[in-house]
Structures are given as structure tokens and as C-alpha cells.
Symmetry: C2
Subunit: 364 residues, 2 copies
């Protein structure tokens, strides 16, 4: 590969298969990528393209991290390693809400508002049932149509397959890549019905929950404890005739919030009405986030939380790896099933089963 | 050892060290215990004593399970294995509340009420800060004085040392022993400020939360999401002048509960006023538990929950064991610390750190 080739490389060229010729850690120079199955570009060049804002390179890098091909994954990790010094500068925002709360409408309005202010906005989704990845019942093709076309926006649906832990990992890494690519605001969308809110809460600075008017009924479909994860409660669709009811709902939620512990130390979780169609409350949401950030940076909570989030991510990944390795062998799997059956029949104590399992596993 | 010795064995004799001469699983006959460092009784005899209601044998068996001596632990497990067919017949009740809510006063009143009805009641505590294990600020020596002396009651404080997971395991096993010893009601006490409520919720059928009047202020010290674990909310100390306020607090809580998902499928979490000193509401609590049990047995939730609790316990113990083994080596520990530092400094990606860790661990 010569320098001319290096200069030539464009987004179009890297869409083909990629190949790394090195796999050591921290070796960042002269790693070669196959280009169009023939030509190659280096990790250095690739990472520079991302930092300079090439969306195609960013998208390709995310695909590498999501890949199940070992070599691609490695290349992705090398890239991420290279880009690590450029990460961490965005505000990371989690958004959840029950189906029907209008998450995509809100994200479109909120994202567009931010883009128009000159911010670069990345929208990621963490679970396959999110509106981004087409989980909508209506299959609404117009969702986020405007935001998608905005030059300051980057939208990436969730990887469609894999365990929650895996998706979690990929979303975190995608977030870091987006930060290195200069995105100022990362919006991570999740559906408020599963396990993913806790995971998203564990990777964002600010978490907001979209609800509808008529608190009681609407909350029925909401996961336990989800309100206690939120830094902001948005009573959405506060438009037209609904505006008045929304105000009442806000007051009701304020009352409930009074009884709950705040999600972030030193911050009082607020509730406010928003209309995405009438563009009402959008600016206020951004202002709330601004004062949240300021106050938590002052108290030191902001930085501490990021550090402990990263630490926890590390230890969760260690645990996942241990579990994968343990349950990964067909022999262990069938043994566990067998022991589980004996336990449930009342034939075996749990302690004895574990003892048995580990004694046998050690021997093989 | 001869049969005469077997017949002789009494509670006093087994308080010394114990020794098992077998360690295989499921071998229950002819296992020998050293008695007073000389004489021995068999697991069979020991388990029969427990089933016949010997409190001293029960206490000793719990001590064996809690022991850090491998041989004692093994003997304890053999006993538990032997007693397994006799477990599961009690109603398992978790009790939590903020400090000052009057948990021990309530447990004394509630426990005594049950004992007087002819039920055998075991009271266990899951964490060292509980009132049972003397975590009281006042060091109140009169706590549960009456209940302690009741012939139908068995009270066992939490093991004072060990990890939460360890204490969890021991409390579960103690519960099973108590069931084999014929206890009809198991009350498991925990303090409403830590991680232990979730763990207790994971081992009981019914969970109740003690609160005080003046919901808002009082809840401040309460853990997030704890209300959503409860099947019953008791507004305690509803006596004298407080009775009226308690009624208002009950109404306030009912309103909050309306917005939360019930802790048990098909059951609506209730709030009610109770005075332990005036013995008001005690019978009603027991009636609520009765209708809870009936309704959940009818719907099948009762049995399903027990099964999934046991399964989860098994898998949690597997995970704990894996973690212990992994973090147990000093080499891994220091490596993790080192990598953690590099990650937090932004020098290393989490994925690369994990990769590095497992590659190195495998080699050693």
C-alpha cells in the first residue's frame, strides 16, 4: 500500500470486507484493511476519517464492532482503542417510555432542535423492539424522517440479534465511537418494558421517561421501579385538548416523585409537559439537562458516576465471560439441567448440586 | 459406636465438635458425629431429633451450615439433604422497614399472636444490622423478650460475618431446617436500607414493609424500589394520637401503590394501620396473608414462584462460585486492579482489558 492509496481512500472503498494483519493489543500503526477485497487502509487512516466526521467510516466501524467474525471484531477493537482519547465529551442521554408514548416523535423533535442549534446528535437504540429498529406496530416508515436527513444527525438502530448483554456492550462501544466522531449529544433509546432501562441507566448521564396523560392507567404497562431511574419525567402529547389534562398529570407525577428517591444524588427529578408536534417544552427539556449537568459537575457526581459506570461495565463483562465459558460447554449445560430437575423434585440440596457440578467440571 | 449410644444422644451431647467420616453425596446412613470430642451420633439420629422438634439440635445444625470448617459444612449439608423431604411446608414471610419503624416490636407482637394460635414460628434475620443481631442503636435488651421465651418460637440472628451472598445462602438453608423442624411460619427480618430486601424477596412467599406515619419524610431513608417489592404495607405505630394520622398515611400510600405494579402477579398490594402495643391490626395482617396464600395457590403463582426462586438460587450460587474462583487468586485480583486503572485513565478499552485478562488467566 502506498500513500497515494491512503489519500484516495473514501467511504465507498471501505464498505467491503476488512482484514487486519495484526492482532496484538496497542499496535495501531500499519494495520492493513482489505479494500474492495484488494486494497487496504490502515487503522490510523480509518480512525482519522472517523474523527473528521465521515459517517460512512463511523457506520463501518460500528459494523466491525458488531461483527461476529473474530478478525473484524479485533479490528473494531483496535479502532476503538485508537479513538479512546477522543471519547467522553458528549452528554449521554437515555430515553424510555411505554409503547405509544411517542418516543420517536419526541426524539425527532428534540434531535432536530439540537441539530438546528448546531449540535451533532447521534441516536442509538438498545433493544430490538425499539422504534428505531422497526419495532413499531404500525411500521411507520416516516419515523424520524426529518432527523435522518439532517447533516448533524447520525442514527443507528440496535443490532438485531444477540443477548441483552451483548447488545449492551455494542451500544456502549458505538457510543464511544460516536463521541470520537464529534457527536455532542448521544440519545440512547430503549423501550420501557424490559431489562434494558437499567442497562441504559448504567451508561448515560441523564435518563428521561416519556409518559402519557392519565398516569394511573398508563403506568400499568410500565416496568417496576422505572420511575426511580428517571432524572426527568416528560408528560408527552401535551397538545390541543390534551394540554390541560397534561398539566394535571404533571402535578400527579410530581406528587409521586416526592415519595421516591431521586435517580441522581443531589438532583430532584422533575416532571414537565411536552408537545413534540407543537414544539412545546422541547427547549425546556434541553435547559433542564443543562442545569442538571452543571449541578452534577459542581457536586462531582457527574464524573464519579461515569467512572463507576465504566468500572461496572468492566466487571459485568468479566462476569458475562465467566458465565459464557461455564455454561458454554454442552456437558455442563446438560448437567445443570439434570441437577436443576433433581433440586426442584426435592431430591438434592442446592449446595450439594453446586458442589457436585464444580467437582465434576474440574475433573473434565 | 453402638445403638445404646445412639439412643442416649441428647441435645447437650451434640454441642461439641462434629465429625463426619463420609463425604459422598446422598450417603446418609452410618455417618458418624463426634460427641463431646469422643462420642458420636449419626446423621439419621440427628435429623430425627430435629424433626421431633429438638431446638438444640436445630440450633446445632444451623451452626454446622454456617461453619467455615469444611467437615462441619459437609455434615450440615448431609443433614439438610436428609431433611429435604420435610421442607417447604411453611409460609415464608419477609419483613422489612426503615430503622425506627418498630420491626422488632411488630415481630414480637405478630410472632406471639401466631404462637398463641398454636403455630410454630421461626424468626430469622438476614443482615448483621438487623434488630435481631443487636444492630439497634439503643441496644434494647428487652426486644422480643416474650417471644424468645415462647415454646412455639425459635429465634435465630443472622450470621455475623460473611458476604451478603453467603448470608443469603445460610438464611435459606436455615429456613429449610426450620421447616423440617415443623415450623409453620418463617419470619425473615431485614433492614430496609441495603441490598438484602431483594434477596429476601427472592426467598419468601410474602413480603411486608413497615412504614411510619407521614409518608413523604419517612420514605427518604428508604431504598429505591422497595415499595414495589411489598405485598403489604404496614403503617406502624398507629396508636394513641397517631391513629388518625396513620389512617391518612394509609390513604396516601394506597394512592402511591395505585401507580406501582404489584409485587406478586394477581395480587393488589394493600396498606393498613397496625399498632403492636395496642395489638391493633395484628390479626388482620395474618388474615391478609391467608387470603394472599389462597389466591396465589389458586392461580398457580405460589408454586411457580417457589420453583423459580429455587432455580434462581441455584444459578446465583453457580455465579458466586465462578466469581469466587476467578477473583480468588491474588494474581487475578491485582491484574484486575491494574487494568481497571488503565481503563479509567482512558488508556484501554473495556473489551481489550477483558480479552487481556482472560488470555493471561488461561495461560497461568
Amino acid at each position: 500500500m502506498d500513500s497515494q492509496e491512503n489519500q484516495q481512500n473514501s467511504a465507498m472503498h471501505v464498505m467491503g470486507g476488512l482484514k487486519s494483519t495484526h492482532d496484538g493489543m496497542g499496535q495501531t500503526s500499519r494495520k492493513q484493511f482489505r479494500r474492495s477485497h484488494k486494497k487496504e487502509i490502515s487503522v490510523d487512516d480509518f480512525s482519522r476519517e472517523i474523527r473528521q466526521g465521515s459517517r460512512l467510516h463511523l457506520a463501518k466501524a460500528i459494523t466491525l464492532l458488531e461483527s461476529t467474525v473474530l478478525e473484524d471484531k479485533r479490528t473494531g477493537q483496535q479502532l476503538l482503542q485508537e479513538l479512546l482519547p477522543y471519547t467522553g465529551k458528549s452528554i449521554r442521554i437515555g430515553i424510555t417510555g411505554v409503547p405509544g408514548a411517542g418516543k420517536s416523535t419526541f426524539i425527532e423533535a428534540f434531535g432536530k432542535y439540537l441539530c438546528d442549534q448546531g449540535f451533532k446528535v447521534a441516536v442509538l437504540a438498545i433493544d430490538p423492539s425499539s422504534s428505531l429498529s422497526g419495532g413499531s406496530i404500525l411500521g411507520d416508515k416516516t419515523r424520524m424522517e426529518e432527523l435522518v436527513r439532517h447533516e448533524n444527525a447520525f442514527i443507528r438502530p440496535s443490532p438485531s440479534a444477540g443477548t441483552l448483554g451483548g447488545v449492551h456492550k455494542k451500544t456502549r462501544e458505538t457510543m464511544l465511537l460516536c463521541e470520537a466522531a464529534g457527536y455532542d449529544v448521544i440519545l440512547i433509546e430503549t423501550v420501557g418494558v424490559g431489562q434494558s432501562e437499567t442497562i441504559v441507566r448504567g451508561m448515560v448521564d441523564f435518563f428521561m421517561l416519556l409518559v402519557l396523560t392519565g398516569a394511573g392507567d398508563e403506568l400499568q404497562g410500565m416496568k417496576k421501579g422505572i420511575m426511580e431511574l428517571a432524572d426527568l419525567l416528560i408528560v408527552h402529547k401535551a397538545d390541543g385538548d390534551n394540554a390541560k389534562v397534561a398539566k394535571k398529570t404533571v402535578a400527579e407525577y410530581e406528587q409521586i416523585l416526592h415519595f421516591l428517591q431521586p435517580a441522581s444524588p443531589g438532583w430532584t427529578t422533575k416532571a414537565m409537559p411536552v408537545s413534540s408536534t407543537e414544539k412545546m417544552g422541547i427547549r425546556e427539556v434541553w435547559e433542564v439537562i443543562g442545569s442538571f449537568k452543571e449541578s452534577l459537575i459542581d457536586s462531582g457526581v457527574y464524573g464519579e458516576r461515569r467512572q463507576s459506570q465504566t468500572k461496572e461495565w468492566f466487571h459485568t463483562m468479566i462476569m458475562d465471560r465467566l458465565m459464557d465459558e461455564f455454561y458454554g460447554t454442552p456437558d455442563t449445560k446438560s448437567q445443570v439441567k439434570l441437577l436443576e430437575k433433581e433440586i426442584l423434585q426435592g431430591d438434592l440440596t442446592v449446595s450439594n448440586a453446586v458442589e457436585h457440578l464444580f467437582t465434576n467440571t474440574k475433573k473434565t
